[in-house]
Symmetry: C2
Subunit: 284 residues, 2 copies
C-alpha cells in the first residue's frame, strides 16, 4: 500500500508527498496537528492540513526569517518571536551570541510539545537558557509592550481565522511600539504567485508605518509555489545590508552575506506588485 499526503495549496494546486508513516495526529482547541514521515523531505509538521515545515527544507525558511534581520542589527539583544512554536526560528536566532533573551509567544502549547517530541532537530532551541516561552495570544501580548525588543519576528501560519490578526494594521502599529528606537521587524508574508494581494497590502501598510520597508524572497520547496516572501520593517538600519560579520556562515546551510543582499533583488513582476502597477490578483 502507498500512502500519499496531498495539501491543496490553492483550490486548483497541490503538493503531494509519499508518506512512510503517520507519527501523530491530534485536535487541539486551536487546530489539527499532524506529524508525518515523508520519503522525500523527512518528517513533516502539518497544521490544519497545511505543511508547516519539513526536515528537508525548513532550514531555508528559518534561516532567512531570522538571519536577515539579525545580521542587519548591530546588537540584537532581545528578540520576540510571535508564533514559531516548532522552535526553528528560535534555533536560528539563538546562534547569535549577542542575543541575551528570546521571548516566544505561541498560542498553542501542543505545537511546542509535539515538536519537542517528534522534531528534536528543530525544537532544540527550547533547551536554551535564554528562551522564555509564553503560551498566549501573540497579538494581545504584543499590544501591551513598549520599546522592549531589538528584533520582532512573526512566524505565523497562513492568514486564516485567528492568524489573520497577525497581518493587520493594528498589529503592525503594535510592532512599531514594541520595538526599541532602532529595532527591526520581519514577518513571513506568503507567496508572490498565490498571495499577491496579501503581499501588496502588507507592504503598503508596513511602508506607511515604518521608516523603511522592504520585501525579500527565498525558495521553500514545500510551500505553495515554492517561492516565499518576507516583509521587513526597520526603524533605523538598512535591512538590505548585512552589518556584522557574524562568523556563523560555516554552520548555516542557506544564508550567507551574498544571499542576504541577493534576496532583496526583486524580479520585475514582484517590483510591480509592490509599486501598485499590477493590481493584486493579476499575478498568478
Amino acid at each position: 500500500m502507498e500512502l500519499w499526503f496531498t495539501e491543496k495549496q490553492t483550490p486548483a494546486l497541490g503538493i503531494t508527498c509519499k508518506v512512510l508513516q503517520t507519527l501523530h495526529r491530534e485536535k487541539t482547541p486551536f487546530q489539527e496537528i499532524a506529524v508525518l514521515d515523508t520519503e522525500q523531505y523527512g518528517r513533516m509538521l502539518v497544521l490544519n492540513g497545511m505543511v508547516q515545515l519539513t526536515i528537508g527544507d525548513e532550514f531555508i525558511y528559518h534561516e532567512m526569517l531570522a538571519h536577515v534581520p539579525l545580521h542587519s542589527h548591530p546588537a540584537p539583544r532581545h528578540v520576540l518571536i510571535v508564533g514559531g512554536g516548532d522552535g526553528g526560528t528560535a534555533r536560528e536566532v539563538l546562534r547569535h551570541p549577542q542575543v541575551e533573551k528570546v521571548t516566544l509567544v505561541e498560542i498553542d502549547r501542543r505545537v511546542v510539545d509535539v515538536s519537542r517530541h517528534f522534531l528534536p532537530e528543530v525544537s532544540c532551541s527550547f533547551d536554551d537558557q535564554r528562551m522564555e516561552v509564553l503560551f498566549e495570544d501573540g497579538v494581545t501580548y504584543l499590544l501591551g509592550r513598549q520599546a522592549e525588543y531589538d528584533i520582532i519576528l512573526v512566524d505565523a501560519p497562513e492568514p486564516i481565522g485567528q492568524a489573520a490578526r497577525l497581518f493587520s494594521r493594528e498589529f503592525y502599529e503594535g510592532v512599531l511600539r514594541a520595538l526599541r528606537p532602532d529595532g527591526i521587524f520581519a514577518a513571513q508574508t506568503e507567496s508572490p504567485f498565490v498571495n499577491s494581494d496579501l503581499i501588496a497590502r502588507v507592504y503598503r501598510e508596513v511602508r506607511g508605518i515604518f521608516p523603511m520597508a522592504r520585501l525579500y524572497l527565498a525558495p521553500v520547496p514545500t510551500y505553495p509555489s515554492g517561492l516565499w516572501s518576507f516583509t521587513i520593517g526597520s526603524k533605523h538600519y538598512d535591512p538590505e545590508l548585512p552589518l556584522r560579520e557574524s562568523g556563523l556562515e560555516g554552520s548555516l546551510r542557506y544564508y550567507n552575506a551574498g544571499v542576504h543582499k541577493a534576496a532583496f533583488q526583486l524580479p520585475n513582476f514582484v517590483r510591480k506588485l509592490l509599486d501598485g502597477e499590477v493590481r493584486p490578483g493579476d499575478v498568478k
Copy 2:
C-alpha cells in the same frame, strides 16, 4: 467532476493541478505530448508526463535561460538553441536587436507544431524572420559545427533516454568547439534539491572544459522543488555581470540587472555541492 493532473516529480514527490480541459494528446516517435488547460497556471505543455512549461510561470525559466548569457555578451549575433521546440527561449533571445540569426534544433517537429497551435504566446518566435528551425538530433548537429555561435543555449528536457546525451562530456566539448572564441554557453541543469548529483557532475565537466563556469538559480513553481539551476560556461566574458544596458527590462517580467547578479549568489548548500564538499545525493 474534477480532473486533476499529477506529475510524480520523483518517486516520492508530486505536483497536482486542477485541469479545466485536455486540449491535446498524441504519441510521436519521440515522446508523448499533451496540452492541458489548468486553473492555476493556465495552459500547460506536458512531455512524457513531465511539465515542460505553463503559461503562468514559463516567463521565469525562459527569461533566465536567455537573458543572463545574452546580457553578458557585448554582441550576441548568432545564437544556437538546442531543444526548445516550444519557442519560449527563442522568443526571449529575439528581443535583443543585436541578434541576427537564431538556429533552433529540435528533434521532434510535433512539439513545434503543437506549440504553434496551442501556445501562441510562447511560440510567437517562429514567425520571426531571423529564425532558422531544423528538425534533427541536436547532438549530431552540434558536433559538426566549429566557431559559429556567440551563444549556445541548451533547453533540454530531463536527462532521460535520448536527452541524456545533452548532458554528456562529449556534448560539452562540442559546445566549446561550436562557440566563437568569446562565446557563452548556458543550459538548464535541473533542481539542487532533487538532482544534486547531476548538477555536481555537469558543473565539474563544464569547469574542466571552459575557462569560466558558473551556476545560477531561479524559482520555477511548476518544476520539481520549485528551485531551478542553470549552468553557464564562458570563454571570455564574466557571466555574472550584465555588460550591456539592453533597454529590455521594461518588457520583461522576471529579469533585471539586479536579478542577474543575485542569481549567482548561491546558498551554502549549493556552494558546497559545487565544491564537492557534499557528496551528490546528500542534499535532499
